[in-house]
Subunit: 646 residues, 2 copies
Amino acid sequence: MNIEDKNGATVLHRTQVQAPRRSWRTWLIGRPLPTADAPHQTIGKLLGLAIFASDALSSTAYATQEIMIILAAAGAAALGYTFPISIAIVILMVVVTISYEQTIYNYPGGGGAYIVSRDNLGSKAAMVAGAALLTEYVLTVAVSISSGVAQISSAFPDLFPWRVQIGVAMVLLVMLINLRGVKESGTAFAIPSYFFVIMMFITIGVGLFRYFTGTLGTVVNPPEMHSFGEAAMIGPFLILHAFSSGTAAMTGIEAISSGITAFKEPRSRNAGITLLWMIAILGSMFLSISFLVGPIGAVPSEQETVISQLARTVFSDANFLYLLVIAGTSVILFLAANTAFAGFPRLSAIQATDGFLPRQLAFRGSRLVYSRGIVALAFLGAALIVIFQASVTRLMPLYAIGVFLSFTLSQTGMARRWWKVGHLRPGEEVREAGSVLRYDPRWRGKMILNGIGALLTLVVVFVFAITKFVDGAWVVILLIPALVLLFSRINAHYRRLAEQLSLEDYGAPPRIVRHRVLLPLGGVHRGTLRALSYARRLSDDITAVHVSIDPEETERLQEKWLDWGDGVRLVILESPYRTFLEPLLEYIDTIDATRQPNEVITIVVPEFVPRHFWANLLHTQTALTLRWALLFRRGIVITSVPYQVD
Amino acid sequence: MNIEDKNGATVLHRTQVQAPRRSWRTWLIGRPLPTADAPHQTIGKLLGLAIFASDALSSTAYATQEIMIILAAAGAAALGYTFPISIAIVILMVVVTISYEQTIYNYPGGGGAYIVSRDNLGSKAAMVAGAALLTEYVLTVAVSISSGVAQISSAFPDLFPWRVQIGVAMVLLVMLINLRGVKESGTAFAIPSYFFVIMMFITIGVGLFRYFTGTLGTVVNPPEMHSFGEAAMIGPFLILHAFSSGTAAMTGIEAISSGITAFKEPRSRNAGITLLWMIAILGSMFLSISFLVGPIGAVPSEQETVISQLARTVFSDANFLYLLVIAGTSVILFLAANTAFAGFPRLSAIQATDGFLPRQLAFRGSRLVYSRGIVALAFLGAALIVIFQASVTRLMPLYAIGVFLSFTLSQTGMARRWWKVGHLRPGEEVREAGSVLRYDPRWRGKMILNGIGALLTLVVVFVFAITKFVDGAWVVILLIPALVLLFSRINAHYRRLAEQLSLEDYGAPPRIVRHRVLLPLGGVHRGTLRALSYARRLSDDITAVHVSIDPEETERLQEKWLDWGDGVRLVILESPYRTFLEPLLEYIDTIDATRQPNEVITIVVPEFVPRHFWANLLHTQTALTLRWALLFRRGIVITSVPYQVD
């Protein structure tokens, strides 16, 4: 169906055409979806909690253990500090949550740290937030999958030697699910999330009941205790170090603020309430676990997780309940990795649209998802699992510092925003990038709230950087500036390109006045004659060029050219060193030197196309080599005239 | 300097130009050499012996040991069979030598097995000989270097764990020497070769003297005895198996017949006499070693070679003489690998010229040597050393079967040749491919001599194949037919190509009557306008094509095109599945369907060329993608108009 468009262009509607043909990709990730199918369903609070909370809630599966593993360096007695440290973390969690509530109400269009920083603090801060968050998503995949595998191998110790392989396989599985698209996954998320929450509350409930009734025993056959680092004394450094590890419990609480648009109207209110529910569940679960590990005498270990020790002690011999807890914990950890697979591609698409990452990351794949970002995340996450041998403890020094950096930037951005709001006249409204600034008489209090959040999280960043620097935090501390540098180089490239391509102040388009054609010849045969007749269509000014390596061959070529060359001038370039490219480039240089401003030189290269791919190895790839050698010359166009050989 | 050539072509002499610029390659392998410098010096018998004998003579370093290692499977007593087996091998050696003497006199231009088979038995046999010899050259590198490293680690046991690394390093060193070129290496060869011969004769002489005077002791602290395979009884199979391993002593005796042209005139006579000297030295050295290992009670071992045990027993405490023997043996083994680096590239160049291997193998590199063949051999040899962990014994089942196969083919070819000679009239001369057939009244006797050689070596091939099949000979037995298949596929490709390119029976060259130009557009900017003005030069029939993924972007593009498109028709292709390539290919299909026989379609693709290579990652490589997708379509030419961005 052809339609004349209002601008006079012919528009070929292709709605009748079938979807692209089926292939192994169709089988793996499903049939392609047309753009019109873009998802637009919204969700309520119950479903929203299930979808956005898995990352945050799942961190209870390892946060307590990671506190203990640091304290263990000072001996078993030091484990008593686990609970107080957890209380401090929950207090911090509440402060950050209050800050985020404000963000949610102010950014109904989605207020991730990148957007809030970009809109309020400028592109530098946005790049830092972007770098921190992208790093963090990769680590979330590695940590969550590794912890999930650790839960499974606690119940089935035979699987322990296979943890890296299982971890990588899980990453690939989650990648495939995401390449298929998230549309179907809404309700699929709800069941395991709530199952985990219910199982954990049962465990905690029974545990607390038995504790208060005095019937709670201690861990039978506890595993060997692991600690991290050299033996140490209890002191401020160790306590802060353990605190830093415990902050892993706070990863994921920013998820809701980035995903507000997924909620039903009133969006901000629904999202805000969901965040409160989530923090209530997270805080109580984390505190209860950190409390119960004391009385049961759980020890941190790489062989058996603390969750596993807790569950089997609480349920004594009820192996079935124990297995349900392990299953629930593993599944929610895999779901947590899944949320990174939503966040990373979305953020990298936003950054690509802003010109900080390759544009290709902003293209939607055949299933309407940002496939390139999904594949990149899977590759990086799997690489981390292999490098760190699926050990949560060894990944921990890298984890969470990025999250806190993004908290700081996001809260600082909000504080800055309140400052601007405070300087509007009452009733005035200003539309900025993604949100609306409206005067609010309580701006001072809100600014202070966000300011406290920013300050506290900044302190945590420093505590983290200092206590964990040598353990591995230095990697992230070097990586983030490196990424920022990369982003700004990419951005500079795109900006320069746009300037140079711009048609503003551009006079008449260039007119080509002369057109010279060069025709490199290896021999005279049907392929070269075809190229010659093509060259004839382009210009009357044709020069055939032969690089002479073997004098006899050159002799034969010249004789044949007399018969078949159609009177076209032939230049023989002697090549005493048997090189092909150098004499030709030198000759092009001499021609180029006399080229007029509006003259174009086209090099027509006859190219064999064998039917079988392997046969390419039997030919020198002249066209390709020339293309690379001449890529940077202005005004030289390379045309390869294919000659198909059956 | 331009010269009008007799055929009217302009010849640009480039003798004034400097050699290609210096780079890391210059530093590594030396400055490029002009073609006129091709080596043409010839050598006498003494130098010829040194150059061509290293492969053959060096095999005495491992042949005796490999016989013993097989016999050892039947216990230490079985080692007594070493000497009788060696006598049988020397008898076979004499027969083969007589056969080869005849080849040398009949092929003064060089009569390797490949050429003799090709000229007398046809291309099938030649391919088999070529496959066998190429395989054998690779094995020669692996076996000789491994044995050389084994000699060194016999004297310095600390180096034993590093044998694979040392072996690979030696391969790379020999490769580099050969990439520099063989010109300088003539005399450099003579010294170590004669040094080895002298040291071995001193060792043997002293050894025999002490044996006959009854003062020869036995090996002090002999190493642990190694055997190959399961424990066995002495029987025909074991004896034949040991014999097969011992035939490794005969590898390399064909070298002189391939390299006759290197000798001074009278070439054949000089080469023939050199072969006799070589066999005399080889035979006496091999027999003496095989004899002496008995009385001194040497045992086969991977830790210490038999040569090392012999030398230290003969010289008792004279550590200095012992080290000289080890040094001489190691060096000649490395030289033996070097001869493979002469043979493999030369043979593969001949096969490439005949169209059985990729043509590139026949191109001489910057130092006038067949660099690609040299690098290929080094890669394959090093790979074998890594796979077989530099163990001569584990390489042995693959070694020598190819050599004997080539012996058989070469002798059969000679017998066939005598048959033809016998059917000429007296005095008649026939010129065939590489040699001259001249009537010889004694043709019957000579035919029988070559026939016996062919038969005996064929029997060895079968003995070898049967006794060593399971140990590894099956690899070679499968590999040779696979290579022959590959050669004939390659040959068929080149032949078909030549037919299709041939100008015989070719009428007028094709005339292009219509020329349509398609101009795919992603946006309207300076780059596309440049491509448009180029397209304007090509044809008046231009269609700009835009694949619409984002409707807003398409809208903007259309408006801009109205201003800048110079009236060229624009077609919008809707792409509901967000693919770029498929709608474009579909559109090209519809155009292609109405294409006239002499119409060409050119697709002009605007292409960004960023100044930095990495920036290419920031752009979709449309031109490249299109090129691949359209490679197999007839009559479609792709031109990319580069737009350099600074």
